[in-house]
Amino acid sequence: MNPDTHTTTVEDAKNLGLTEQEYESICELLDRVPNYTELGVYSVMWSEHCSYKNSIAQLKTLPRSGSRLLVEAGEENAGLVDIEDGYAVAFKIESHNHPSAVEPYQGAATGVGGILRDIFTMGARPIAALDSLRFGRLDNQRTRFLFEGVVKGISNYGNSFGVPTVGGEVFFEDCYCDNPLVNVMAVGILKADQTASATSGAPKKAVMILGARTGRDGIHGASLLASREFDEKTEDMRPTVQVGDPFYEKMLLEASLELIASGIVIGMQDMGAAGISCSTSEMSQKGRTGMNINLDLVPLREADMSAYEIMLSESQERMLLVIEEQDIAQAEAICEKWDVPIARIGTTTDNGFIQLHHNGERVANIPVESLVLGGGAPVYIREQQEPVYLNETLAANPRELIGSITPSDAFNQLLESPNIASKRWVYDQYDSMVRSNTVQSFDSDAAVLRLKEVPGKGLAVATDCNSRYVYLNPYRGGAIAVAEAARNVVCSGATPLAITNCLNFGNPYNPEVYWQFAKAVRGIGDACRSFDTPVTGGNVSFHNESQEKAVYPTPTIGMLGLIEDLNHITPAGFQNKGDLIALLGEVGNELGGSELLSTLTEKVAGDAPAIDLEVEKRLHLTLLTAIQNGYISSAHDCSEGGLAIALAESSINSKEQTLGADVG
């Protein structure tokens, strides 16, 4: 009896992370009991990571279209924004939290590899990467191990692949001690008329697999890991470590871009979580076709892999490609030049089914619609309940908690806080200048890149999220995350265009977590509507918890801004002696969730600072107009540590580190 095709039970479903109801609806959709391979495909396609089953209902409330968007959010692998002059920018942020908790170096490295593939699968050449990292406290030995491994993994993958890592953030907060957050963002540029789409196109086309051989990497890797909390038994997950090869990915990049430029690509999608299962079904849904796949043709790294293993493998550096049959020879020639293997594994069909054959036997016959988001994949609206902790945190009075302290003592302690101190140890390990486009990177509010393709124009990119604020007031925290990201690109001289988001939350089956999630998404949506920066896509990562507690709700925002004229580029550090210093916006004495409070008392309490989205919008326009009129020599956003730290940072990063500030 072939284990791949033995009929399954509800027990099998539970072992694969599916609920009893989900197993029943699979049986209904198939009108029979699924075999083991089919159940495996459903288990990864209906996992949190691929189906967004617990989040899609909320995500739909976000503004997801806009004049500059060339694709609706979720339609393609990454957002696509028109920057005129015939060019567009693809960008996206994704999380690789759970693999990084198991093996920090490879977890982070494969996270970079995955997000880069999402960009070049659309035909865009990656020109920048950013990483938003959160760890436990630095006095914990395990945290230092995770921190060093993650930074080294990002550094080596990005540097070797040849994309500059130009920005990001690093936070240390106790709630992340066993469950670090590793969010990686990538930005790419392409001709607006040369984009590739993740579609199967039409029936009778050749389905090709491009890139690395398929091994037993990460089976139940990203997909299942994302549905389980971490506790002491992490150790027995050890074998599922995926290994990234940045050198191979660079070859894959060049081959993919040359294939797309040659005009023979009907559709292309990178293989992320759920590998072949996800790419075949999602491309088929978009192209309204089916696919006949012969798994015997998939180049394997290990002998005698089962159909189940081949379909669920998450081996890195692979793409699925759909081309005309008569173009196979040309595709092979291009791949040969870059030493990248390509193999035909099947054909598109018109019956809307994914049919898999292995060792001469049909091992799966699954209706495409039943598998995918927007099709048969379940959608849940979870129960919400206002968290109990808010009674305590909102009642607290941060000013009292801080007690009496002299301004200079407070200032010095803030400067020593790891969340504020210089992150040079991290970013000096990143090649931030490869591709020679980088005008500003880590010592400014947003990374700024000049565009060789569009002389005179530039891009500003930033990632932001203060998860303490979101913990204390999810709605406000969500809005503030977008506002701060917008402020950062505006301070650099750019007009905010659009965002991508990486929503890191706890267990959605916990009503308090789901309340946080729903409220934060509302806050993000309102802010995006107010600033006219639509959401172009991103990623949701649930089950971020360690021991019993959920991590602080962390909706990381990646903001893309356009610099119309390179002369508008504005540094964060003071430039000239004698310049006047002005503060835009009022100073409320709000210390809720402040760095000062947590540095002095290790408490996160009070309410998040108030935010008026209309005032915020006017602030952006005012600053941007002043910059465009040449009045501004530097601009810096007040964030953690408030005005005092903002002045300190502008002095530390001033021209030749020589300038200070005399504040009346």
Binding site: D339, D428, Q429, M433, V434, S436, V439
Partner: protein
């Protein structure tokens, strides 16, 4: 005048070198793919920075066996002008065109930042337009830039004045504090005995455009071009 930029699998600064030569210096440039056997009549060759073959085994260990390297070695041995930048310098050492080797950085970490290098000789093909003692502000980005050679080789390098660039401070002082990676004698760049092959760890192609923060790299390429034009005429 045409300068060839070799592209190995994993080179990622090839586009940057090409752009600097073509757009910042206005000189014709052409990519030379590692599988080819023809330098296409180029007057000078650049081995660019990057992670050829992923830096696996040793930086440059595999690239040196590429078909194109046979041509580059022949070209260099017959007096042709060659610059190896970062990974290119490692490949020149691995292929024997330059003495010594590049070991892991002293602090075992990748380093990417602007540094200063001092020009030790103003009379070479690569520094003709510059002066001895000038200080250039040029970025480095490497994990294996710790130049090493045995005593005899170091002595020969000093006697033949083959050390062209050393890591220094903004005022030109060379000391252990200004050494980013542990290189012996703060060596940042050397030439072969004949003086026609230069290997350097800093990236001059990243310092040829004021928008990027420095144009100190232009002098090195300008020197190469002028030297080549004088020979050709």
């Amino acid at each position: 005048m045409k300068i060839g930029v070799v592209v190995f699998p994993g080179s990622n600064c090839d586009h940057d070198a090409y752009w600097a030569i073509k757009h910042n210096l206005g000189i014709n440039a052409e990519f030379l793919f590692h599988k080819e056997h023809d330098l296409k009549g180029c007057d000078a060759i650049i081995l660019p920075g990057g992670f050829s073959y992923g830096d696996y085994l040793r930086s440059g260990a595999i690239a040196r066996f590429s078909p194109i390297m046979k041509e580059v070695i022949e070209f260099a041995n017959s007096g042709g002008l060659v610059i190896g930048i970062c990974n290119g310098f490692q490949i020149l050492c691995e292929s024997g065109l330059l003495p010594g080797a590049l070991l892991r950085n002293r602090d075992l970490r990748f380093i990417s930042k602007f540094i200063h290098i001092r020009i030790e000789r103003g009379d070479t093909i690569f520094t003709g337009e510059l002066n001895r003692g000038d200080v250039l502000r040029i970025p480095i980005a490497h994990g294996e830039g710790n130049y090493h050679a045995d005593k005899a080789t170091l002595q020969r390098l000093e006697e033949n004045d083959q050390i062209i660039f050393t890591y220094c401070d903004p005022k030109g002082n060379v000391s252990e504090d200004t050494n980013p990676n542990g290189s012996q004698l703060n060596i940042a760049g050397i030439v072969n005995e004949a003086g026609n092959v230069l290997g350097m760890m800093p990236h001059p192609e990243r310092a040829c455009d004021s928008v990027l923060g420095s144009t100190d790299g232009v002098g090195i390429f300008r020197s190469l071009i002028t030297a080549r034009e004088e020979v050709a005429v």
